[in-house]
Structure formats: C-alpha cells, structure tokens
C-alpha cells in the first residue's frame, strides 16, 4: 500500500529525515516511536502533502508516486492524517466542515455525494460510536474544544472518511483512559476492513489496545530499529538512549 524508499527531508537546510525506509501492506498497523524532534510529525506532514519541505526519495502509495499528487488528491486517494495539534478554524461549523470534506472526497472518487439527511445520519452514528458529544458538532471547528476533544474530533473525521491509510500523530497524547479505549475501538473497526495505519506515539499503552504488527524506532531522522510489539515494551523500560 505504502512504500517509502530513501526518503530525505530538509527544512531551511536543516536535515530532518535521512534515508528513511518503510513499507506498509494492506491491513497492517505500524507504530513509530521516537524522541521529541526526531522527525515523526515531519514524516506525517510530508506524507499528507504539506508544503515547505525540501524532499528527496520516493514514496509510492498504491503504486502511484505520492509526490505527483496535490494535498487534497492524497485525501481523495485515501490518506488521512490525524494531526498532533488539530487546528482551530473560527467561523466554520464542524458539521458543515465534515460534510464539505466527505463530499469533496466522494465527488473526486466519482461517488454520489451525501445529502444533508444522509450525512446527519452517518455523523450521528459515528459520533455515538466514539462517544463524541453531538452538541460539539454544531460548534465552530475545534474552537473552544478541549485538547482531548480535538483529538477525538480527528478520529471522528477518520471514521467518517474511512481512509485506506490513517496516520495518527500522537492522537493518544492528552486522551483520558476511557477516550483512549474508544479511539482504539474506532481504529480497530477500520482495521477490520483491511485499512492500514501508521501510529505515532510516545506511549506503550495505546499499543495495548491497538496491537501493532510492527514497531519502529525513529531517531535523528532514521529508523534505527524495527521489531514486533515487544519492542515497545523494551523501549518503555530502557528509553531511547539504551536501545540498539
């Protein structure tokens, strides 16, 4: 599904990723752990099409050169990024935004767009599954949401858009224990349908709920070690400095 080879990225001449390699197959869950500033968010941003990076290397998504696609086209093709810091968008109603987004993607795929009633039904159902307070959907996007609510809103968007590849950038940071479980349930529901995940986290706990197939350690812009779920436990005990 996703194949990253020799990816390097610089910003303002500062090297952030170097010779980065990763392959994710359909239905797989990969976790990336790494110290602050190691380049995890940079990787997520580059995959979803944020501008401003000086990028080299190759990324194939379902055999298409990812860099030939605009940001929105990547979303149309099924890439989703749950932001580490979801943005507040004043004056934009959350429901309206969700509907605009879903229909933009449907339209690009040549699928039938949802009308207001169909959309509301879908959004209600998903909000209920994720225990997301429906009242918040009538508010301005992320404005006045708590940190955890913003994160949950990202997962709600993910569930509605049903992406093939979801990148979760520290979605677990700031979630309470119950919220962590509902978020994991949301991920696992999508996972059943052969969708893939790249989960960035600092904590082993999330991986208890979402069993990863692979765990990678990112340091200084490179994957220095890969393994199974046990690697996360080892990291938790030893810390990044003593891994290897």
């Amino acid at each position: 599904m996703l194949k990253i080879s020799n990816l390097s990225a610089k910003i303002e001449n500062k090297s952030i990723l170097q010779d980065f390699k990763l392959e994710i197959n359909p239905g797989e869950v990969h976790a990336i752990m790494g110290p602050n500033g190691s380049g995890k968010s940079t990787l997520s941003n580059i995959l979803s099409g944020k501008k401003g990076y000086d990028v080299k290397g190759e990324v194939l998504f379902e055999n298409i050169d990812l860099f030939s696609l605009e940001t929105e086209e990547r979303a149309h093709k099924g890439i989703f990024l749950a932001f580490q810091y979801p943005l507040e968008i004043p004056g934009v109603n959350t429901n309206v935004f969700l509907k605009t987004s879903l229909n933009a993607i449907k339209k690009a795929r040549g699928e039938k767009e949802l009308d207001a009633i169909q959309f509301l039904k879908l959004v209600k159902e998903k909000a209920k599954e994720l225990k997301f307070d429906e009242e918040k959907l009538g508010r301005q996007l992320n404005v006045g949401f708590s940190g955890g609510e913003k994160k949950k809103n990202e997962i709600l968007q993910m569930s509605i858009l049903n992406p093939k590849l979801s990148i979760l950038d520290e979605t677990d940071s700031g979630l309470d224990i119950d919220a962590l479980k509902t978020v994991a349930d949301g991920v696992n529901a999508l996972r059943k349908k052969n969708n893939s995940f790249l989960i960035i986290t600092h904590y082993q706990r999330l991986l208890e709920y979402i069993k990863p197939d692979f765990v990678h350690v990112l340091m200084n812009g490179k994957i220095i070690k890969s393994g199974g779920p046990e690697l996360a436990l080892e990291l938790e005990k030893k810390g990044y400095e003593n891994i290897n």
Binding site: E72, R74, L87, I89, G91, S101, Q157
Partner: protein
C-alpha cells in the same frame, strides 16, 4: 475644473425657478465648495486619499450638470427578488420612483421640495457640492409608533451614458418616536467613470430604530462617497452595516450624535476588495450624554493591489459618563500588495467610561489551509471556507435575519 463648475452651476439654476431663499442656499454652498475644493490628505478624515487625484485617475475631467427634467428608464433595473420590499429608484441622482406599497400610507409622509432647508452646519466640501447641485430634497417621515412592515430598498443606478459626471443625492429621514425603518441601499451602475455623492440625514427620535444596510457588491469603475448624518434621541438604536466591495473607490462616512441617554450606535462592515479598489469607512461616534453605547466591527479581505482604510473615531464629551465604546478591525491580506490602514481615534473627556479598540491584520494561515486540504478540499475551497469563517462574526452582527441571508448569499457564504 472651476470653469466647468461655474457653467454647470448656472445651467442647473436656470432649469428651475428657485425661490430667492433656495437660490441663496445653493449659491452659498457652491461658493463654499469652490473655496475648499475636493478633500485632500491635509484633512484628518482624508489622510489616506486625495479625492481630486482619485477622480483624475479614475474618471478624468468631471462635469456637474444633470438634466433633472429628463425621464429616465427604470424598467431595466434589476430588483432584489429574495425579499419583499418597498422601493425608491434613483437614476443619476434623480428620484424616479417612490413606492411604499407594503405600508399603511397614512403612516409615512414623503415631502419632495427644492432645497428650502437652511444649511445647518458646514460639514465638509462634498456636502456643499451636494447641496449646490442635488435635485429636490426628499424627506421621508415615519410617524409615531409605526414600524415599516417591509424594508425600504433604495436602488442607486446610473444611465448608460452617464460618463464623466458627478451626480448628487440628498435624502432626509425622520423617525418619530418609537418608529422603525430598515433601509437597504443597493448600488447598481450601468455606466463607468462617474462620481456619486450621497448625503443622508437621519433624525431618530425617542425609542426609534434605524437599520441601514449599504450594499456595494456589483463591480463597477466608479467613485462613490456617502455621508450618513445620524442624530439619536433617548433609547434609540442605529445599526449601520456596510458591504464595501464593487466600486473602484467608495468612502462611507458615518457621523452619529448620541444625544439621548441609553441610545446606541452600531457600525459594522466588510471590505471585500479586489484589483486596485480603494475603499474607506470613516466613523465619528459622538457620545454626548450619559449612558450611551457604541460598537464597531470591520473585517477586510483584500486581494491584489486593493486598499482599505478604517478610521473609527469615538468621541466622549465631558458629560458623557458611563459611555461604552468599542471598536475592532481585522484584515486578511491575500497579496503582498494589498494594504489595510486602521486609525482608531479615541477622544475622551469623561472619566467613568469603558472604551476599547483593537486592530489586526495578517495573511491567510497556511497551516489552516493545509488542515482543510488534507481533508480533501482544494486550495480554492479551503481559502473560501477560511474567509467565510473569518467574516462570519461580522455577518452575525446583522440583526435582521432576512437581510442577513441576503448578504450571506451575496458573499457566497453557505448554510
């Protein structure tokens, strides 16, 4: 220009048999205009624009004579279809039609007279120009306790062949006690390169409400100036909303005298500018007695080489204790060449007041754009959504639902 002015003024006088008093009024105003000329940057209120220069570069040589005896076609004027309304249709400064068909006819009085009112104050040279050249004064009086059932729309239009001309219009409004008027000004030009000069006088008696919405949305190459002079008595409310967009140059001045306790004035506006358009709002809110309130919010979205100026003044006299005055302006600059100038002025002589002002400008937030695009919206859609979101709070200040929706439609704000 002076030669032309004199010729046109004489021609104008000859067209009608004015009484001596009227003639004197016009002549006094004409002389005053000749003396002062068009306003320029030396005046505090015109710090950011020299009208002479603006006229020269957008129109060229102006002429001032208007044939008010001529009947203008009005059947081609595009009317608003979204809401039922009373209407006044104006072509080239001449009132062609007054129609209050939705109202109790005995509750509204329309006086049309030729410049018999004495000049009460010397406001500025453009008002002198207006008084010298405008046709009949129209005075609209709303009787006590009457709220108009439907809004009144004033259509400002120009004839196809009205080029290089200055046209003037003056209307006076009086809202007697506990009356209510919703007034929409719509600007629709059929011609290019002219200069429209409007002067409205509002007397708002005790407990009356005036809502004035000025909509300049259709694109045109004209220069416009509008002055609202508002005098408010006890418990009265004035709400002014300006959608400033389509004209080449448009300056709206709002002068509001809060003369009665518990009166309040709201001035809100949007500059939605493209190309090299240059628009301004100048407000003077004069808090003259205790317990009055004013609120102003102006938002700008500026493309290309456009320029917006907001000069908001709050004046609080020494008697005006417990004044509540607020003004804020925010601008999004969509190009490096666009320009926003905000010049808040606070002149406060009372000590127990609550006054504040603020202003900000910046470009569209790229991170927000990325967020929206990562959800499948293309750049244009993302930009539109962000701009609509930015404008939402000022649109929400419009207290009339019907008119709010009309303006939302004009701006393409969905939902």
């Amino acid at each position: 220009m002076e030669e032309q002015l004199k010729i046109d003024f004489e021609k104008n006088l000859k067209d009608f048999s004015y009484s001596d008093q009227e003639k004197k009024f016009k002549e006094t105003n004409f002389k005053e205009f000749l003396k002062q000329g068009f306003p320029n940057r030396k005046l505090e209120n015109w710090k950011f624009s020299d009208l002479n220069q603006i006229i020269q570069s957008n129109i060229g040589e102006l002429t001032f004579y208007n044939d008010y005896k001529k009947e203008n076609q009005i059947d081609k004027i595009e009317l608003i279809s979204e809401l039922e309304h009373n209407k006044i249709i104006i072509v080239d400064g001449k009132i062609e039609k007054i129609d209050f068909k939705f109202e109790d006819q005995d509750k509204i009085e329309v006086l049309v007279e030729q410049g018999e009112e004495n000049i009460r104050e010397n406001i500025n040279s453009l008002i002198n120009l207006n008084n010298a050249f405008s046709n009949k004064f129209c005075k609209i009086i709303i009787k006590k306790n009457y709220s108009l059932k439907k809004p009144l729309v004033i259509y400002h239009s120009t004839n196809k062949n009205t080029q290089f001309k200055n046209t003037n219009l003056r209307i006076d409004f009086k809202l007697n006690e506990n009356a209510c008027l919703r007034l929409i000004d719509i600007f629709k030009d059929n011609s290019e390169k002219n200069f429209l000069n409007i002067y409205y006088n509002f007397e708002i008696d005790k407990s009356s409400i005036l809502k004035n919405y000025k909509i300049d949305k259709s694109i045109n190459n004209n220069v416009k100036y509008s002055y609202n002079n508002v005098k408010q008595q006890v418990n009265s409310i004035s709400e002014t909303f300006i959608l400033s967009s389509g004209s080449k140059f448009f300056k709206n001045e709002i002068n509001c005298d809060l003369l009665g306790q518990h009166s309040s004035a709201f001035v809100n506006g949007i500059f939605d500018l493209d190309d090299e358009n240059h628009h301004e709002i100048k407000s003077n809110i004069n808090h003259l007695v205790e317990n009055t309130k004013s609120y102003q919010l102006v938002k700008s979205v500026l493309e290309k080489k456009s320029k917006a100026v907001y000069q908001g003044k709050i004046f609080v006299s020494s008697e005006a204790q417990k004044t509540d005055g607020y003004q804020l302006s925010n601008a999004i600059l969509l190009s490096e060449n666009s320009e926003f100038n905000a010049k808040p002025e606070l002149e406060i002589y009372a000590d127990d007041v609550k006054c504040s002002h603020g202003s900000s400008s910046g470009s569209l937030d790229e991170n927000s754009i990325f967020y929206l695009m990562s959800r499948g919206l293309n750049y244009k859609e993302a930009k539109k959504l962000l701009i609509n979101g930015f404008l939402l709070d000022v649109i929400e200040k419009i207290t009339d639902e019907e008119i709010k929706n009309l303006i939302k439609n004009l701006l393409g704000v969905k939902e």
